[in-house]
């Protein structure tokens, strides 16, 4: 980031750096593991959306309740005879779409807030950082809990709640580098050349925080999956019979003694989703900051 800020030829260096980033990410053991896990989960979700799941997630089979894993039902069936694999696949879709919407909300709001606070300074900066500090002073799970309880159940509302509670982190992460970039020579030059404010912000300042944003977005996705599943687990997400991973873990706990697969597979899916994003985020951070990577 510092090298980018000093180099007058920032643009060509950046385009040349992009293909390398994917390869560097793949070379990190954590990045590779994360990408593989995410690929598996995303494929499972896409298969469910395409109707390739073994069974519709809500289809009940009263004659085949609580069957253990078998060739007919790889992950077994639940107390209503529903196929656990199909429900886990549908739950993965719901988790991923909630996390994507939540992170879209906090990344856009947080980046705008952070850039505004860092670039313009003054009263605007004070207002933005004060609001961020206030939201930050309420533990984010509690904030999400309060918001989702007021908005009512539904995956969009969960996404809004999670997005709002994570926005201050994006503001903090973006504001610092933007403060530094404002003084960078190539940004000063752009200002002297008379470029419009929006052109400077979007073409010169924003690309400079792109790497940091990419890492933060990946980590935020993992966090969003975690909070979303926790809210569903507490009964604040979409109501039954919706196939959410959190709800399935909650119901699976009660019957785990006689049907462990009802707890184990949904729990595994949550863990894989969270781990996949966390590992990819870690790998991305190391790939973008070679000095931190490969420590003994």
């Amino acid at each position: 980031m510092a090298g980018l800020a000093q180099a007058p030829t920032a643009a060509p260096a950046e385009t040349a750096g992009h293909p390398g980033l994917a390869r560097r990410l793949w070379r990190q053991p954590s990045g590779r593991a994360g990408l593989v896990i995410l690929a598996v989960m995303v494929l499972a979700g896409l298969a469910s959306l395409a109707g390739l799941a073994p069974d519709p997630p809500d289809a009940q089979h009263p004659l085949a309740t609580l069957r253990g894993p078998s060739a007919a039902h790889l992950f077994g069936t639940d107390q209503f005879g529903r196929d656990v694999l199909s429900r886990v696949m549908a739950g993965t879709v719901l988790s991923l779409q909630t996390a994507l919407l939540a992170v879209a909300i906090c990344a856009v709001a947080g980046t705008l807030g952070g850039v505004a606070a860092g670039y313009f300074g003054g009263a605007l900066s004070w207002v933005v950082t004060s609001v961020a500090d206030l939201i930050f002073a309420v533990p984010s799970v509690l904030l999400a809990l309060a918001i989702v309880s007021g908005l009512g159940p539904g995956w969009q509302n969960t996404a809004i709640a999670v997005g709002i509670s994570y926005t201050p982190i994006f503001i903090r992460v973006v504001r610092g580098p933007v403060l530094a970039l404002r003084q960078a020579d190539y940004v000063k030059a752009a200002r002297v050349l008379g470029f419009s404010r929006s052109r400077i912000l979007f073409r010169h300042v924003l690309p400079g925080v792109g790497g940091i944003l990419a890492v933060q977005v990946t980590l935020a996705l993992g966090w969003a999956v975690l909070i979303e599943a926790s809210l569903d687990f507490l009964g604040l997400g979409p109501p039954p019979p919706a196939a959410t991973l959190g709800l399935m873990v909650s119901e699976g706990t009660n019957i785990a003694g006689i049907a462990w697969w009802n707890l184990a597979f949904p729990a595994l899916a949550v863990v894989l989703l969270v781990l996949g994003f966390t590992l990819t985020g870690d790998g991305l951070r190391d790939a973008l900051d070679p000095s931190a990577a490969g420590r003994p």
Binding site: V138, L142, A146, S149, L236, A267
Partner: protein, 343 residues
């Protein structure tokens, strides 16, 4: 002030109190400024909590009458608004609420009819005990395993510790908790909370059993985060010249690790512990629900699902107060662990 000299001083000395009147005054000023900031934040949070709960759709009338609220006449509605104190303009309502709050009156629970202060008073000790126990477990696991990992990077202990940390971060507390409950119940036919909650004073042994498992559930996640931070910070410090010099002088490796490396890696560890405390407060909601503990988290979840505004408002405020207090303590701890911040 040298590191060795600081080691023998009392806590008051470490905070810079009582080492020269001028310095003491400067330190007192700094502490006072930090306290003022904490109070301002608290007032701001109270305002945010108040506004958020009122901006959300629904109010006490709709929550107690449901769809029947639509059948009320204008006069009945106005009467109910007066009864709940929600008809007046928002600033006036906030002033009323803040004034009551300062007198220790947080309102009355719509569902149970008890005062919010007494509800919180009986639930708070459970959550404080749980939080302290979880923090202790997290610190012991995290700093212990982090030190062991950083002492021999790349070796078996380090690999195991890093793998455990990854698992601790990736597995949500509700999954750990559900797994623990299912395991204890199906293998040992044991669920400590089935007998009703026992306070530390009434039945200490049962109380420890009831608190241990939820505290372990939360402590594993905290420990994982502290482990990663401790390991990274200690590896950074271990590359410093004075650590090599200490090894070169022939000091025992264990002594170097604890007195030279860990001692100087404490700042990031303190920071991460403070951050984890916020996570801990949110985590109590989930874990108290799983292990059926009558703490603030469970009370909050109940009040939220029942739209019991006065209770959720009061508990959120108590949680925010705890969070702000911990941030304050974290800032003051920096001065204890880093002598450079005192001069």
């Amino acid at each position: 002030m040298s590191v060795e000299g600081a080691g023998a001083r009392s806590l008051a000395g470490r905070l810079g109190l009582g080492s020269g009147a001028g310095r003491a005054r400067a330190v007192a000023l700094r502490v006072a400024a930090r306290l003022a900031k904490a109070v301002i934040t608290l007032v701001g949070v109270a305002a945010v909590v108040f506004v958020v709960l009122r901006l959300l759709p629904g109010n006490q009338i709709t929550s107690s009458l449901g769809v029947n609220a639509g059948l009320l006449t204008k006069a009945q509605y106005a009467d109910l608004e007066r009864y709940y104190g929600i008809g007046k303009p928002l600033p006036e309502q906030f002033g009323q609420w803040a004034g009551d709050l300062l007198r220790g009156n947080m309102g009355v629970s719509e569902q149970s009819g008890r005062s919010v202060t007494s509800l919180i008073g009986s639930a708070l000790p459970v959550t404080v005990e749980l939080a302290v126990a979880a923090m202790l477990i997290g610190l012991v696991l995290g700093v212990g395993a982090g030190t062991a990992a950083a002492a021999a990077p790349g070796r078996l202990a380090d690999r195991c510790a890093r793998l455990a940390a990854l698992a601790g971060l990736g597995v949500p507390s509700f999954v750990i908790g559900s797994g623990l409950v299912a395991f204890l119940a199906s293998v040992f036919h044991y669920f400590p909370s089935s007998e009703g909650f026992a306070s530390l004073g009434s039945d200490p042994w049962l109380n420890i059993q009831q608190i241990f498992w939820p505290a372990l559930t939360l402590g594993l996640g905290i420990g994982a985060a502290i482990l990663r931070t401790a390991r990274g910070a200690m590896l950074d410090v271990a590359r410093q010249g004075y650590v090599r010099a200490a090894r070169g002088r022939g000091l025992r490796p264990g002594l170097v690790t604890v007195k030279h490396v860990l001692r100087n890696a404490l700042i990031p560890i303190v920071t991460m512990s403070g951050i984890q405390f916020g996570y801990l407060l949110g985590g109590t909601v989930v874990v108290e629900q799983i292990f059926v503990l009558p703490g603030l988290g469970r009370l909050l979840l109940m009040s939220v699902t029942e739209s019991d505004y006065a209770v959720s408002q009061g508990i959120t405020l108590v949680f925010a107060l705890g969070f702000i207090a911990v941030n304050l303590i974290t800032d003051l701890l920096y001065a204890v662990v880093d002598p450079r911040l005192r001069s």
